[in-house]
Subunit: 301 residues, 2 copies
């Protein structure tokens, strides 16, 4: 049996997978803050699953935000977790006595979505969280690219007169279609600020309507980039914003259909038919993490 | 021995490759116009190489502009050649008595550049011709995507206030960084209009300077898209505009360096170091065509 851990900013979502990759047990606990707290809670999640299943685990996979070097299991810049430059894979392996694979959380979710939704062909998982990024799955495996930056499409600028992005560029997709874009343009105390935005737009607020329309266009632009570059067969939309549900999906589809109506080239791509929403309640990042295979660590010469 | 044909708008560039993929003989003849003329000239190119080498050919590969279905060997919308909806692979196979693989010319050039430049890792060949498009090579093989539209990045819009593109969209990369973009903004009778543009800019013409700067930014934006989406290790710049040579490469590099100076994120990507110019005089599309393997044709149920 294998374990997958999705280590998020507030909670750890843990699953035990049987050999076919089917989740058989779940556990959820608080993440904590700082490397000691996060590591001991991650180890505790493994212990809980071991008690629940009574099984020994052959491998543990971790999906975690931040810059991850999957080869070394090293995590940098996971600011929400208070982790920077931590040899997370080794440390968790020592505590759990099992091999540990570590991957960026969006990539882990991409792999999990691919399997849980039983997809085929090249697939992108488009994560609309605080930021905007995609994970790519090709032939059933993660496509990380040459240096692990594949899918970082949130930092592709699409409007020279757009907003300044924290990355230093102007008009990045992430400044239009992400949780941070909504927070900047439509501040709210709502637990799901995107839902507050959609509700205000539904109620007729003109500014909310404009921001919502730009959001849908930005997501549509992300889909267009993924298809025109990688030519993925399908794009699964997930992340915090996806909790808005069908109104988001239909808004994006409408943009893609409007584009197709004015461009036979775009019409030939069937973009509106290639997108789908991640269903609620699936532990995609935890399941995907559980399916990770630890890459061979290069020996130092 | 194998044959590769690069069928361009004016000439057919033909090479014979030995079993290691090294070009051993070249031939060049006029393409002609219309399916009968193009097919008979393609067959003649094969005959000439057969006479020159005295060898039998085990396979023939064709790189050709237009929409190509590599599985069927079918070519559509090759308007400069007067070809539309021609079963080119089968027709040339009948005339030459050898199996024929057909591929889009940009994809063929990508494969040829990968081998002739002895590249490794995921690579993009960025073709700056009349249009702008990329061919992707992953693990030494063409990455065509789910429906054969991978690398069509010329139709990613990057400026909502940009020029109208013939594809029906606004502000596509192709309207900024391509032969057609130069023709629209800086009409010229020069054999190489891009060189005329660069010369005028060097001579101090303000409009030429502006167009040249936008061109370099557009190419840089294409590189950024390729790295942030696919994360190719290197981008080889080829096509008609690449004849401008180092001034083009250095102009693009300068844009990428300027961007890196204002974005630590972009700086971490080493974009300026990832690009290179296709050297002059390499028959990349013909050699790449010769390395094509004819895909298995699906049997009709």
């Amino acid at each position: 049996m294998r374990v997958g851990l999705d280590i998020g900013g507030t909670k750890i979502d843990a699953v035990a997978l049987d050999d076919a990759g089917t989740p058989v047990q779940h556990a959820r606990l608080a993440t904590g803050f700082g490397s000691e707290a996060v590591l001991s809670n991650a180890a505790r999640a493994v212990d809980i699953l071991r008690d629940l299943t009574g099984a020994a685990f052959t491998s543990i996979g971790v999906g975690i935000p931040g810059l991850v070097d999957p080869r070394l299991g090293r995590v940098r810049h996971a600011v929400n977790l208070g982790l920077d430059d931590v040899d997370f894979g080794t440390a968790l392996s020592v505590r759990t006595q099992a091999p540990v694979a570590v991957e960026n959380d969006v990539n882990a979710a991409a792999l999990g979505a691919y399997h849980l939704l039983d997809l085929s062909g090249p697939v992108a998982y488009l994560n609309l969280g605080t930021g905007l990024a995609a994970g790519l799955v090709v032939d059933g495996e993660l496509w990380r690219g040459a240096r692990g930056v594949s899918g970082e499409i949130g930092h592709i600028p699409v409007d020279p007169r757009g907003a300044l992005c924290p990355c230093g560029q102007t008009g990045c997709l992430e400044t239009i279609a992400s949780g941070s874009a909504i927070a900047r343009q439509w501040p709210s105390e709502h637990a799901y600020p995107a839902q507050a935005l959609f509700a205000a737009a539904d109620a007729g607020d003109l500014e909310a309507t404009r921001i919502r329309a730009a959001l849908a266009e930005g997501v549509a632009a992300a889909v267009r980039i993924l298809v025109l570059t990688v030519d993925v067969e399908s794009v699964v939309i997930g992340g915090g914003l996806s909790h808005v549900g069908r109104p988001l999906l239909e808004g994006v589809r409408q943009v893609l259909r409007d584009w197709a109506a004015s461009s036979t080239f775009l019409a030939s791509l069937d973009l509106a038919e290639r997108i789908r929403l991640l269903p609620e309640g699936l532990s995609v990042a935890a399941v995907g993490a559980g399916m990770l295979v630890r890459p061979a660590r290069e020996t130092v010469a």
